[in-house]
């Protein structure tokens, strides 16, 4: 994970796994609300950006695939 780069799917899985010490393989594709709050917090910490989500973003972040897309968009726009 490099602060200057956009996060990959692997990076997002690693951040989600950090919530409760799971392995990356044990992270489910569906993301629930507490995991989402954790993920947004971790992205802010690791990438130094403020992640402001509108409802459209939020609706797309219910899966890991969607979350990776949105996070890359939001970080890209913030830079």
């Amino acid at each position: 994970m490099n602060r200057g780069e956009l996060p990959s799917r692997e990076d997002v899985l690693r951040l989600l796994a950090g919530l409760d010490g799971r392995t990356r393989d044990d992270v489910e594709e569906r993301i629930e609300s507490m995991e989402l709050a954790w993920l947004v917090h971790q992205v802010e910490q690791h990438y130094g950006v403020r992640v402001e989500l509108d409802e459209e973003h939020f609706g797309r972040m219910m899966t890991v695939t969607g979350a990776v897309e949105v996070i890359r968009e939001v970080i890209g726009a913030a830079r």
Partner: protein
């Protein structure tokens, strides 16, 4: 602003007086809430009066029944206090419940007026929402009991338990908070991360804050940076009140700023691993307090200086005893509405369903875990039996077992042509997202004991699922 609660006549607590006297009283320009900007007591009183008119126009009156299905928001606070000022009973429904769950609760409780969220004007992940509150009258009945607040717990047998608390009981809890060493003091702030729809955020932050003259301030968002920004927003001392998940948020903030006004963090809920506690206290250098409570009682015991961890001291006026390995707490009347079960409450003692011990010399209480199938997901209580019964009631499900195996995990035996996707869709209609299994495994045949009972051993279920892949 604090009133001597021993002087409040019990007869006065059913009308609007207790709300005015214990919660809303204070100088007009006193800032009691800070939600995207300061809210003075005069402004809050005006909001409450306006909501009261709307609720009365919808037919709500003294002894009536009102349900709030709102996320934590100013609209929630104003409608709650307005309902109480009208002398109505207020049912609190978590806004994350599904329509199916809400309809079941409203029908069961025969609520007369419902306030729900219309247009949500704030972004996602906001700690306090900016919502339009929509009032709807229903063909319900007046309150059947004298309780001021009704909450539903995730039920271990059949439907949810209905938990009622009178105004006098809420006042007694406020009194416990007021007498505690280590709670925020008048002129200070509570940065509230716990939901105000549930007992910790409701009484520990909102009601105590209004009563004691402690400014209640949710952060803009529930992220570590946002919580620290809320602390830094004012020089007055600040206590952060949340659930264990929030300790992890703050403990993982990279290079937090110096915050001399941060006084303490207090959480309710399950105990945290020592490593997380150490990470937090080393990073911030302030006490990490711990509280034990339940919806039926509110706060029961505390360790607000983190000096007795993992033990806690019972709060003023409450007795805690251990019987047969279970902790019981004194409660003069049963909190359960329409339920008479001596295994839950009898002779002034409430069964907490928490295993634990009470030190005979110090009186300190140590919690050892749950005795039933209740677990905590981010501070929200989920009873696995409720999840399992809902799952078992879906079409095409022949047998189901739900366990907590680092996450809520379901194993099902399906009748053709049912699929896991259909089962998940059925659950999504009937159960709030936080209650739903993260994983649903279909097995050709559920593991059973020699007498035909479903096996609940997690490793056996895991192996059965692995073998079928």
């Amino acid at each position: 602003m604090t009133t001597d609660m021993t002087k409040i006549e019990l007869g006065a607590v059913v009308g609007p007086d207790w709300v005015d006297e214990l919660l809303l009283r204070g100088p007009d320009d006193d800032i009691c809430l800070d939600v995207d900007g300061p809210v003075t007591r005069a402004a809050l009183r005006a909001m409450v009066a306006q909501r009261q008119e709307r609720l009365a126009a919808a037919g709500l009156g003294a002894g009536g029944s009102l349900a709030l299905r709102l996320p934590p928001s100013l609209a929630y606070v104003a409608n709650l206090l307005a309902g109480w000022r009208l002398g109505a009973q207020v049912v609190l429904l978590d806004h994350r419940l599904t329509q199916f769950e809400v309809d079941a609760a409203l029908d069961r409780l025969a609520v007369q007026v419902v306030v729900s969220a219309g247009r949500v004007r704030s972004g996602a992940l906001r700690a306090f929402a900016d919502v339009e509150d929509v009032v709807t009258a229903r063909a319900g009945r007046p309150a059947a009991t004298p309780h001021a607040v009704i909450q539903l717990s995730s039920g271990s047998t059949g439907p949810s338990k209905v938990i009622g608390r009178t105004a006098a009981d809420l006042i007694a809890e406020l009194d416990r908070y007021t007498r505690m060493d280590g709670v925020p003091l008048p002129g200070e702030r509570i940065i509230v991360l716990a939901s105000m729809v549930h007992v910790l955020g409701l009484v520990g932050a909102l009601l105590y804050g209004l009563h004691a003259g402690v400014r209640v301030q949710p952060p803009q968002r529930l992220t570590g940076d946002s919580v620290l920004e809320a602390v830094a927003a004012d020089p007055s001392p600040a206590t952060v009140l949340g659930v264990p998940f929030h300790i992890g948020l703050l403990a993982s903030v990279v290079d937090p700023p110096q915050l001399p006004q941060l006084k303490r963090m207090t959480t309710g809920g399950e105990l945290q691993p020592p490593a997380v506690v150490t990470a937090f206290t080393e990073k911030y250098g302030v006490p990490l307090g711990n509280m034990w409570g339940m919806t039926e009682v509110g706060v029961i015991a505390t360790d607000l200086f983190g000096e007795h961890r993992p033990s806690l001291r019972p709060a003023f006026g409450l007795a805690v005893v251990e019987r047969g390995g279970e902790l019981l707490v004194s409660r003069p009347e049963s909190p359960y509405v329409g339920l008479s079960d001596p295994d839950r409450w009898a002779d002034g003692w409430l069964h907490t369903r928490d295993a634990g011990t009470v030190d005979p010399h110090t009186g300190l209480v140590t919690i050892k875990g749950r005795l039933d199938s209740q677990i905590s997901i981010g501070g929200l209580k989920v009873d696995l039996t409720e999840v399992e019964e809902t799952l078992g009631g879906l079409p095409g499900v022949e047998a189901a077992v739900v366990v907590h195996d680092s996450m809520v995990t379901a194993y099902v035996q399906l009748a053709e042509p049912a699929t896991v996707a259909q089962v998940e869709a059925g659950l999504a209609e009937r159960l709030a997202a936080y209650k739903r299994p993260r994983r649903v495994h279909a097995l050709a045949a559920m593991p059973r004991t020699t007498t035909g009972k479903l096996v609940r051993d997690r490793s056996v279920l895991r192996d059965a699922s692995r073998e079928e892949r």
